[in-house]
């Protein structure tokens, strides 16, 4: 499929809102999922380390 120019590609035959709206939201949602997972992991590791610290305080 030869689009010719970048403008043609971005315009998607007039359906730009729908096509790019779909692709960008999909990309956004998948990346958001990964970011949320990373945050969850960081929080958990922090909690685990805090627990170790707390236990060490008790003689």
């Amino acid at each position: 499929m030869n689009w010719g120019t970048l403008e043609n590609f971005l315009a998607m035959g007039g359906y730009a809102t729908y096509v790019w709206g779909s692709y960008l939201v999909t990309l956004g949602v998948l990346i958001a999922e990964l970011i949320l997972l990373a945050q969850r992991r960081r929080r958990l590791l922090g909690e685990l380390r805090a627990r170790v610290g707390a236990e060490r305080e008790v003689p």
Partner: protein, 248 residues
Amino acid sequence: MRVGFNWFKYSSPQTFFPLAGKVALAFGTVAVFACAFGLYIGFFVAPTDAQQGEAYRIIFIHVPAAWMSMFLYIVMAFWAGLGLAFNTRLSGMMASAIAPTGALFTFIALWTGSLWGKPTWGTWWVWDARLTSELILLFLYFGFMALQAAIDDPRRADKAGAVLALVGVVNIPIIYFSVKWWNTLHQGASVSFTKAPSMATTMFAGMIVMALGFWFYSIATALLRARCIMLERERTTDWAIQYAKGMA
């Protein structure tokens, strides 16, 4: 007597945890390449559609996402059922790990379906069989996640979720066929996304490759989430604490 590869070694969170990490990385990498290739096919190889113009290119996300949403529910129910039958902790954790990813793909299927419907059929929502079934599937996912969130005891949450997921998976064909019937009854010769515009081989190839990409992405994400769940549930164990210290 030596017994080949010992699979059961990996049925404990402690041993599965590092394996999950490595497998997730592998599948994640392949997923990126697969999706890139799929998008290349979708935008630069597949031709313009005669009836729908460029709007049809949404199909390269919509259909794979819909396939994933249903496939993931079945896989989730499988793991949940395994956990219920054999009382294995890890199986229940896998089921819980898959659910949010499945729900996400269901949302993507609905969102792209809506954006595809507007230019093609004129409305932001079309009550066709596939979209309506996807909507009900989204509710099934939410129900599963809500039930597990409402139960504090992880063992009860796993088992209760398993019963719900199994009841759900048995009902999905019934739901799909009921909705299909309902759709034809009320619309007669109905328009449908399932009858894809004269599917050129390249279009089909693009969909398959994207589906593979989504599949590998799902495996990677589910495994990463399972690792988080393991850390949460095993927070009092040595290995988890050692791991956290090691990551400092």
